[in-house]
Amino acid sequence: MTSLLTVTAAVPALGAVATAAVPAARRTAAKWLALAFSLATLGLAGVQLAQFDPHAAGPFQLTESHAWIKDFGVRYELGVDGIAVVLIALTAVLVPFVVLAGWHDADPLETHSKRWRPTQGFFALILMVEAMVVIAFEATDVFLFYIFFEAMLIPMYFLIGGFGDRAGERTEEEAAAQRSYAAVKFLLYNLAGGLIMLAAVVGLYAVTAHQLGTGTFSLQEILQARAAGRLHFATVTERALFLGFFFAFAVKAPLWPVHTWLPNAMTESTAPVAVLITAVVDKVGTFAMLRFCLQLFPEASKWATPVILVLSLISILYGALLAVGQRDIKRLIAYASISHFGFIILGIFAMTTQGQGGATLYMVNHGISTAALMLIAGFLISRRGSRLIADYGGVQKVAPVLAGTFLVAGLATLSLPGLAPFVSEFLVLVGTFSRHPVIGGVATLGIVLAALYVLVLYQRTMTGPVREPVRGMPDLRVRELAVVAPLIALLLFLGVYPKPLTRMIDPAVAHTMAQVDRTDPKPPVQANDVEAAK
């Protein structure tokens, strides 16, 4: 099938339309429809994984290429490398859980009329986001990527602003005001980043048009032209373009100090949408750093590396310290995510195989672990109707399964060996350390701080004497267990046997490293021969 990539993106898009078209009264049907379409996408992502050959020559596979806007050299070009295919799989895996976890999040309240339709809208928007994220992972044309990179803000905006967390002791008006503040903040931050990127995209076109005769946005064409020496960026131009791209991705990722939209957005949205933000949409930012920033502008990337490493180091420690200081469960998880994104960006710009491979793996693992943690936190919050840590205590006694799974997800967040995030975090740290020992060493402090915020959260909410409001809290229901158990199984499996992923990622990382023209530092003592002899 030559148009597999298009189909993978089209199925959720179709699903969105179909879900939105379900009549108001049949909202349960809409939910099942959305779930079916997200599962179909998962199946297609599985086919992609199966058809992808990690050892094939050439950077991209399953490619599709059609002319689109001829006058500006814009092409509809899709293709996946090992990194993209893994991230598409992550997206496809997470969305069914998001749908399932958000099953009742958009149900009408008693005050709503029978013709209330947002339930359909909620699920349609989720599928819409999925479609856009998938195609952003697939696009190998810079302009095509840009369009969907920006377009996904629209459904996200409505998801954040339209379907808020109903928890908390505040009036509906206050909640709505805080929600729309968060949604607007999200939109403005990302639009600002996007606009700067747009300028850089136009600049890229100008450079290619000037030097190649015809302007192009095709990643492959640009890379080939540069390899053949037909295309050469002037130093200043390259740096300016790099910064334009990087700023947009840093906002999306988010990197300190352009991170403040994330805690608001994650706190005010429902838990499944928060998962969508941090585990799916934000990954496009870090992914794009690997695919576009490093590959298009290798020299500028190397030039900017020191600053970016320091910023990501700040992100790691700052995010973790702020997580320790939070009183709101969801805000705590949001700041923890900022810390983790710091690790991802650190790994990408460490410019070592371990760093970049680890960063890619980190994207997947962070997606799964944060999804697990956030969704369980969402289940907890929905039981008590409060996001404040101080409102809980002793949950372990009344809802042991909930507490147990929460602990496992928390342990994954603090990178306990045996759970998936450990592998990636260690790879990132080793990769960074081998080139920048001081930064790698300081970043390791992050593992202590991670233990602090996770365990403090667990202790305050789950242990101790049973608090009055917690008494009688039901344990996880079947639907909730169906969300949590597979995620935890995945965390365990990928922690013990990450090879299926690393097998995919490795060649793609090698390709990126080749584009940046960097090789791993050689250890001074060649000790591996002993193992060979053994």
Partner: protein, 639 residues
């Protein structure tokens, strides 16, 4: 045979999985399932041991690679096992003592609500600990290292409804994480230096790395060891860890997990041998801790905390020995094994006492228990004799060797270390005699226990001490047997030395003091220590509430103010830091953004005055704009 090694780890892991996910169906059979699986892994261990004995000295190690764990570029971490004499020793200790403590727990935890989970955690601990000692590379060791930390966290906090237990668990994990950070950075340094972190290549090439690198790795490994083995300055968690059920204290916080640091240093002997500065740091840590732990042990009235101080101090001996290099490795491990027997026995004894005394832990409220709990008294007594180094018992053989080796270090350093070790022996005799006298001798000082609700109960709640059930006494008896004979058995023909020598290497020390003199000196200090304790606690009645005590006693009761230091500097400091950062994030980082938004808003408020709604004024601006454009065009043309 190789496959059995994997099975050794897998069996308890399977047990943990089944018990933790099994649900309420396993509530009744759970304890026996857990104990059975622990016993199975012990049988496997013995089988492997027999197999190993069948081979000759240099040929005893087994290697097996199960699968490739993390292959990324040049970074290769395998799940592979390396079973040599050193890990074999640990396997037998862990599964042997582990099985006994599982058995003991069946009785001890019989009245608990959720014994199934307890046994699940215990099995998880066994699996992680076996992984730690069987791993053939540092990363897998690290996985086991953190795994035992997790099991320890879960078990310390097993009675989670008690806030003190939950806090102690968190503290243990956090302090351990600091140590783990050292270990993980050590692995990173290894990777950048050697391109690998498997034991064989790293240790074989250690001499090529240069002393600077080795010292760095050594110090970082020491940091890891300090965390796990509760050595100064990361020792503060061990005392609090006694919040866990007593079998946990016996297994994890006395016999096995806390000795992982000694294993790590011994395993990395090639690195430490090439880094004298790191070795100096190791012996310093060991010497300081052995005194620190002993002093703390003297002041505690809580029987488990007194024993915890003792554990710290004994591990200090082992670390000291391991830091002495090839002279000491074997003795470090030997003391580790004998300590495993007698300390586990002592803890189980303490648990038995608590079991009979309504979970009372204050020794000042014991007294005269020897006739009520004869088995406990005798087994505890044998453990007591073993730990103070009574001639002929286990502790005598192992501790004596360490003191000798310390003197053999030579020079001023040797004298200081030797003196510290001797002083430690004296204090050990003192605090152990104190524990013994307070608990089993003297008058009954039993007090009504305070019920859970916090109100002092009436006299009906006076404890009725009784001997513990068979499941508890049998392990105690077996461990007491080990405490008595293990040291002697190991020393026949230097059997233990010959057994371990192929792995750790051994060098005879040249002590400025003769072996006989050291033994004599040890005996003298031992008698002095015990006599002082008898003078204080045996001859005069003991007050039920502790007297104010000297400055040192008061400090020692508070763990020599370490906790206060941590609290003021780290906890308070950290709180201020995070609070101020939260403020900064809200006001400054976010403030800049919101400020930008506000100024844009203000600007557009002014701009909108231009929109006055009069069509003709719009027309004027249109014409004006057109005129400007035309003028600009003409101007550009002209230029």
């Amino acid at each position: 045979m190789e496959n059995l090694i994997g099975l050794l780890v897998l069996v308890p892991l399977l047990g943990a999985g089944v018990l933790l996910c099994g649900g309420r169906r396993l509530d009744r059979s759970g304890p026996w399932v857990g104990t059975g699986l622990a016993a199975v892994s012990f049988v496997l261990g013995v089988w492997l041991f027999a197999d190993m004995l069948g081979r000759k000295g240099d040929n005893r190690a087994l290697d097996v690679t199960v699968f490739s764990w993390v292959p990324v570029g040049g970074f290769r971490a395998d799940v592979g096992f390396h079973l040599d004499q050193l890990s074999m020793t640990f396997v037998l200790l862990i599964t042997g003592v582990g099985s006994l403590i599982h058995l003991y727990s069946v009785g001890y935890m019989a009245h608990d609500e959720r014994p199934r989970r307890f046994f699940g955690y215990l099995n998880l601990f066994l699996a992680a600990m076996l992984l730690l000692v069987l791993a053939d590379n540092y990363l897998l060791l690290y996985a086991g290292w953190e795994g035992v930390g997790l099991a320890s966290y879960l078990l310390i906090g097993f009675w989670q409804h008690k806030p003190s237990a939950a806090t102690a668990a968190k503290k243990a994990f956090l302090v351990n994480r600091v140590g783990d950070m050292g270990l993980s950075i050590a692995i990173m340094v290894m990777f950048t230096t050697f391109g690998t972190f498997s034991f064989a290549p790293v240790l074989a090439h250690a001499d090529q790395a240069g002393e600077g690198k080795l010292t760095a790795i050594g110090l970082l490994l020491l940091l890891g060891a300090c965390g796990k083995s509760a050595q100064v300055p990361l020792q503060s968690w061990l005392g609090d860890a006694m919040e866990g059920p007593t079998p946990v204290s016996a297994l994890i916080h006395a016999a096995t997990m806390v000795t992982a640091g000694v294993y790590l240093i011994t395993r990395s002997s090639a690195i430490f041998n090439g880094a004298p500065d790191a070795q100096t740091a190791v012996v310093t840590v060991g010497a300081v801790t052995l005194l620190f732990g002993a002093i703390v042990g003297c002041a505690k009235d809580d029987i488990k905390k007194a024993l915890a101080g003792s554990t710290m101090s004994q591990i200090g001996y082992m670390i000291l020995a391991a830091g002495l290099g090839p002279v000491g490795y074997v003795f470090a491990i030997m003391h580790l094994v004998t300590h495993g027997f007698f300390k586990a026995g002592l803890f189980l004894g303490a648990g038995s006492v608590m079991h009979g005394m309504n979970d009372e832990v204050d020794m000042r409220r014991y007294g005269g228990l020897r006739s009520y709990m004869p088995v406990t008294f005798w087994t505890f007594g044998l453990g007591y004799l073993a730990i103070i180094g009574f001639p002929g018992l286990s502790g005598f053989f192992s501790k004596d060797k360490i003191i000798e080796a310390a003197f053999a270090k030579g020079g001023t350093e040797g004298w200081i270390l030797g003196a510290a070790a001797l002083l430690g022996a004296a204090i050990t005799a003192y605090y152990m005699t104190r524990v013994m006298l307070l608990t089993f001798f003297g008058e009954k000082r039993w007090q009504p226990t305070v019920s859970d609700s916090g109100s002092a109960a009436e006299d009906g709640n006076l404890p009725h001490p009784h001997e513990s059930p068979k499941t508890m006494t049998i392990p105690m008896i077996l461990l007491a047997v080990g405490s008595v004979f293990a040291g002697g058995l190991f020393s026949i023909n230097s059997a233990f030395l010959k057994w371990l020598e192929p792995v750790t290497g051994h060098a005879e020390g040249h002590s400025p003091v003769g072996a006989g003199q050291v033994t004599a000196a040890t005996m003298v200090v031992l008698v002095i220590g015990a006599a002082v304790a008898w003078q204080q606690y045996g001859r005069s009645p003991v007050p039920v509430t502790a007297p104010r005590g000297t400055l040192l006693t008061r400090a020692a009761r508070r763990d020599l103010l370490q906790d206060d230091f941590n609290h003021v500097v780290l906890v308070r400091g950290g709180e201020h830091l995070t609070r101020s950062l939260v403020y900064v994030d809200h006001k400054l980082v976010d403030g800049v953004v919101n400020g930008t938004a506000a100024s844009v808003g203000g600007l557009s408020g002014r701009m909108r005055r231009l929109q006055n709604g009069f069509a003709r004024s719009y027309a004027v601006s249109m014409f004006g704009g057109a005129a400007v454009l035309i003028a600009a065009t003409l101007l550009m043309r002209a230029v």
